[in-house]
């Protein structure tokens, strides 16, 4: 008769233990709730693990669609991973429209960076002039002018708001103003007078030296051939070669001057881009 009682006590104990086990579960954390997902997403974002961070912030957006910061982080990640369309779609999901002129400051700065990242400088210009938040942001306004390579306009703008502009941008503007461009006409003219000198003027002295030697050698051999045997094919071939080299050198010198100017201007644009895209 003792056996069933023991069995019942044992069963009761087991049931209590089981019940306690389930109650412990009630105190456990929900790792996948909004706050935890957001914190983990922030950690992943700060450690540049963007692919993983996107999942966390997308979960946050699913749990709280009105939460602005999750959308902003997603926008930033899509910008940094060069996913232009996804970033635009992210903003559309948040605001419900694509009215960029009413974009607030934080989203606006990110959108500005997105456009710069994708080299859509025309859109940058229209965005800055249409958005009311940016009308007083002199740094970005000046940066937009610098991206358009309008050095003189940038100088005028810098002088107007000198105290309110970041020193880095002031320096870039000054460098842009003091840019000494090479004239392609002058380079061509130099090479027409002395072969290769136009290239030297455009900053490529090695190209200039080689051009001079090649053109002058071909011309010299042609002249020598004509003096020795004018009826031979050889001096004519050398003469043609020297004419080809000569004309190519004149053209190349003008192109080198143009490339020199472009490289210098692109350097200023790169500096401006680096300023805009840096996490200031």
């Amino acid at each position: 008769m003792k056996k069933p009682v023991n069995f019942l006590i044992q069963l009761k104990t087991k049931l209590i233990i089981l019940f306690l086990l389930f109650t412990f579960d009630l105190f456990s954390q929900d790792l996948y709730n909004h706050d935890n997902s957001f914190k983990f997403g922030e950690y992943l974002y700060n450690s540049n693990q963007y692919e993983l961070a996107v999942r966390e912030f997308e979960r946050c957006v699913f749990l709280k669609p009105d939460q602005r910061d999750s959308h902003l982080y997603l926008f930033k990640i899509y910008r940094k991973t060069n996913s232009f369309d996804k970033a635009i779609d992210c903003y559309k999901r948040f605001s419900g429209n694509l009215n960029f002129s009413e974009m607030d400051t934080t989203f606006g700065v990110e959108y500005f960076k997105l456009l710069v990242e994708n080299k859509k400088y025309q859109d940058v210009n229209s965005f800055i002039s249409s958005n009311s938040y940016f009308k007083e942001n002199h740094d970005l306004k000046l940066a937009t002018i610098l991206l358009g390579k309008e050095w003189k306009d940038a100088g005028v703008y810098k002088n107007k708001f000198n105290n309110q502009i970041n020193p880095s941008l002031v320096e870039i503007t000054n460098q842009g103003l003091s840019l000494r461009k090479k004239s392609p006409v002058l380079a061509g003219l130099f090479s027409a007078i002395i072969p290769g000198s136009g290239k030297i003027y455009a900053g490529k002295w090695k190209d200039g030296l080689v051009s001079f030697l090649m053109t002058s050698t071909a011309a010299f051999m042609s002249v020598r051939g004509f003096n020795k045997n004018p009826k031979s094919f050889y001096p004519w071939a050398m003469g043609t070669l020297s004419v080809v080299y000569y004309s190519g050198n004149v053209y190349g010198s003008a192109q080198s001057a143009l490339k020199y100017n472009k490289d210098k201007e692109d350097e200023m644009v790169s500096k401006t881009r680096a300023y805009i895209l840096s996490d200031r």
């Binding site: 004309s247 190519g248 053209y251 190349g252």
Partner: protein
């Protein structure tokens, strides 16, 4: 004059050694490496399909003959990617004015020398040569 020319040539080759040693060495090793690699068969007749007129046809034929019978027997000496011959045929096909094309080609031929400073052009990752397409 002959002595002067020889002297100038020696001077140029000496300058070639003074140039950035690392870049020179990398290019040289790449060249040596390529000597022992079986060269890939490239079908140059593709360029002939783009011909639109007689000038382009003539140059395409010259290009194919050069590539198959002359260039294939020589080492890969051009410092640029695409090589001067490919650059020339692309110029002939793309440039509307053939005079501009010839000017571009002759300019390119004079730029192709071992003194090219590293940093002047981008480096083509595949070949390790200076990247200079016709758009430049």
């Amino acid at each position: 004059m002959k002595k002067l020319l020889i002297l100038a040539l020696i001077l140029i080759s000496a300058l070639g050694f003074v140039n950035d040693c690392n870049a020179q060495l990398t290019a040289y090793l790449h060249r040596v490496d390529s000597l022992f690699q079986p060269s890939e068969k490239v079908n140059y007749s593709v360029f002939a399909k783009k011909n639109k007129n007689e000038i382009e046809s003539t140059f395409s034929t010259m290009f194919i003959i050069y590539k198959n019978f002359f260039s294939s027997q020589d080492i890969d000496a051009c410092v640029f990617q695409p090589s001067c011959s490919v650059f020339a045929i692309e110029c002939i096909h793309h440039e509307k004015s053939k005079i501009t094309a010839f000017l571009k080609i002759s300019d390119r031929l004079m730029r192709c020398h071992p003194l090219v400073s590293p940093g002047t052009y981008k480096i083509d990752e595949e070949t390790g040569k200076f990247f200079d397409p016709i758009e430049n």
